[in-house]
């Protein structure tokens, strides 16, 4: 086999193997629930969930759109703010020492405990949810980017300095490219966290009516004991999370594949 074929076979495995595991688990789930006649208000069969999905897809997808909007807004805000904060941190050790503990504070305080406060402080509900999502997603970006911006080849830094490069040149031409693998690792963690923030925030905010997201659907379904709908909403949240994570993998590959070890597969 040529290397290209091996690659294709590997890619097929990468998609096919987890898919097969999922299919087997679903079949097992369906069979067991049917065999033991588990009532669907306790633990629904996959077929119940898909029925419920078919009935409610309109409101489910509207809710998904809302949740995605909040997640992506929070993620983008966290990326921009996090990278800017990291850039400020590496400019001066004093600034980093003074402010880093507060970044940690942001990370260690449970978001579920803070979000009621945020929901009260920020009038606009969507705005409040975006703030919650941003706060949750922020820390991995700050810490990874700071680490990356500092992980510069000292020889290259010497070369830049010997050529009397400005701070801006060092930042743009050396620090940021060196930090890219770290930044992407941070973004990959953060996109999942942004989704968690969006969902947790909505649980706390508990807003009904128009423009509510998947968390609200889950709450409502729980109150109405519509367990299959709850599962359907849950499945959509997971699917959204996986989709966004995969999207980040693709971005990472696009940005790094031509040079970084982490993204290099037997190409030459």
């Amino acid at each position: 086999m040529s290397p290209k074929n091996i690659n294709n076979a590997e890619n097929a495995m990468r998609v096919g193997a987890p898919f097969a595991v999922g299919l087997v688990l679903l079949l097992l789930w369906q069979t067991l629930c049917t065999a033991y006649a588990v009532p669907s208000y306790l633990f629904p069969k996959p077929s119940d969930i898909s029925d419920s999905f078919g009935r409610e897809w309109h409101s489910l997808f509207a809710a998904l759109a809302t949740t995605m909007k909040i997640t992506l807004s929070g993620f983008i805000a966290a990326s921009v703010i996090g990278i800017l904060i990291a850039i400020i941190f590496v400019q001066s050790k004093v600034i980093e020492l003074a402010f880093f503990p507060y970044a940690v504070l942001l990370q260690v305080t449970p978001i579920a405990a803070v979000s009621p406060l945020i929901v009260i402080l920020v009038k606009n509900t969507t705005g409040a949810l975006i703030v919650v999502s941003t706060i949750v997603a922020l820390f991995p970006i700050i810490s990874n980017t700071t680490l990356g911006l500092r992980s510069v080849d000292p020889g290259l830094l010497n070369l830049f300095r010997a050529r009397r490069a400005s701070r801006l040149q060092i930042l743009l031409r050396l620090r940021i490219p060196s930090a890219l693998p770290y930044i992407f690792a941070g973004l990959r963690i953060s996109i999942g966290l942004a989704l968690i923030g969006a969902v947790v925030g909505e649980f706390v905010a508990g807003t009904g009516g128009r423009g509510s997201g998947l968390a609200y659907q889950i709450l409502q379904a729980g109150i109405q004991l519509d367990i299959p709908l709850m599962f359907a909403a849950l499945a959509l949240i997971s699917a959204a999370g996986i989709a966004m994570f995969t999207m980040m993998l693709v971005f990472t590959r696009m940005a790094l594949s031509h040079w970084h070890e982490s993204e290099l597969e037997a190409r030459r």
């Binding site: 080849d153 020889g155 010497n158 070369l159 050529r163 040149q169 050396l174 031509h258």
Partner: protein, 280 residues
């Protein structure tokens, strides 16, 4: 030219002609004590003259890299000073006063192609690509890497990466080339080839070179002057003039003169190590 004599005499007595050449870098009682109190280098006096090929040789910790770092103005002496073209560091960089540096590692940007790596110093100076491209291509051709302009560093072998670093230093047409153990990590064959290449370029472009190395053979093959250093504390203990004409080729490596010169360097180095060999 006569074969090089056994040179344990003072260099001034051997090569008075060299002293006529203009000083390029002068190290004036410069010493280096690091912040943690380590004395990397005792006060050193050294004059690099135009046209020299000077190697700094000595055991680890003798301060040879520190000395080179000060000469490239990347390190400041704790005491004493240096002068470049009889002036301060501001003299560096003007026309006819360019310093090129080659480090121990190739120090290439892994995210940039070979061509972009060689172009780096032009980019930092704000020179447009239209102007730098021919010089970048010339430099790549000179080190035999024209076909690899669009490759990334990780696609190249260690020797090729070092060539890229040399091309980067040469592209800006330096007058002085400072090299810190550039071939230390390479195999013997690659190293011999690159040694010859460096010597050719030094002659072609009338460069002044300072070359740090661990290898006695490399020092003798390349140099016009070998500065022998000793460790703890770092200091210069001896200087050997290599009065062998150029061009030097592989036959020089197997000549008696070569062997004698190597013995001289080895001798000087072992004198330096005596104090540290005793029970302490």
């Amino acid at each position: 030219m006569s074969p090089a004599p056994l040179t344990l005499d003072e260099p001034a007595a051997i090569a008075p002609a060299r002293l006529a050449a203009a000083p390029v870098i002068e190290v004036l009682s410069a010493e280096k004590v690091f912040a943690d109190g380590t004395r990397a280098l005792q006060p050193v006096d050294l004059t690099l003259r135009a046209g020299d090929f000077m190697t700094l040789i000595g055991p680890s910790g003798c301060g040879k890299s520190t000395l080179l770092g000060m000469m490239s103005n990347l390190l400041q002496p704790s005491e004493g000073r240096l002068s470049w073209w009889r002036g301060g560091p501001e003299k560096i960089g003007a026309r006819g006063r360019q310093i090129g540096i080659v480090f121990q590692d190739p120090t290439l940007m892994p995210w940039a192609t070979v061509e972009k790596n060689v172009r780096l110093l032009f980019d930092l100076d704000g020179i447009p690509a239209a102007e730098s491209t021919p010089r970048v291509h010339d430099a790549l051709a000179r080190v035999g890497l024209s076909k690899f302009a669009r490759h990334y560093p990780r696609q190249l072998s260690g020797g090729m990466r070092m060539r890229v670093a040399i091309a980067r230093a040469l592209a800006t047409d330096p007058d002085v080339l400072l090299m810190d153990e550039p071939f230390g990590a390479l195999d013997e064959f690659t190293r011999h080839k690159l040694d010859s290449d460096i010597l050719d370029m030094w002659r072609e472009r009338s460069l002044t070179a300072v070359f740090v190395t661990h290898s006695i053979y490399e020092a003798v093959f390349l140099s016009t002057r070998i500065v022998v250093m000793a460790a703890s504390p770092g200091r210069i203990i001896h200087e050997i003039v290599v009065d062998e004409p150029f061009p030097r080729d592989e036959s020089f490596r197997v000549s008696t003169r070569f062997a004698n010169l190597c013995a001289d360097v080895l001798n000087a180095l072992s004198h330096a190590q005596k104090p540290t060999l005793g029970p302490s």
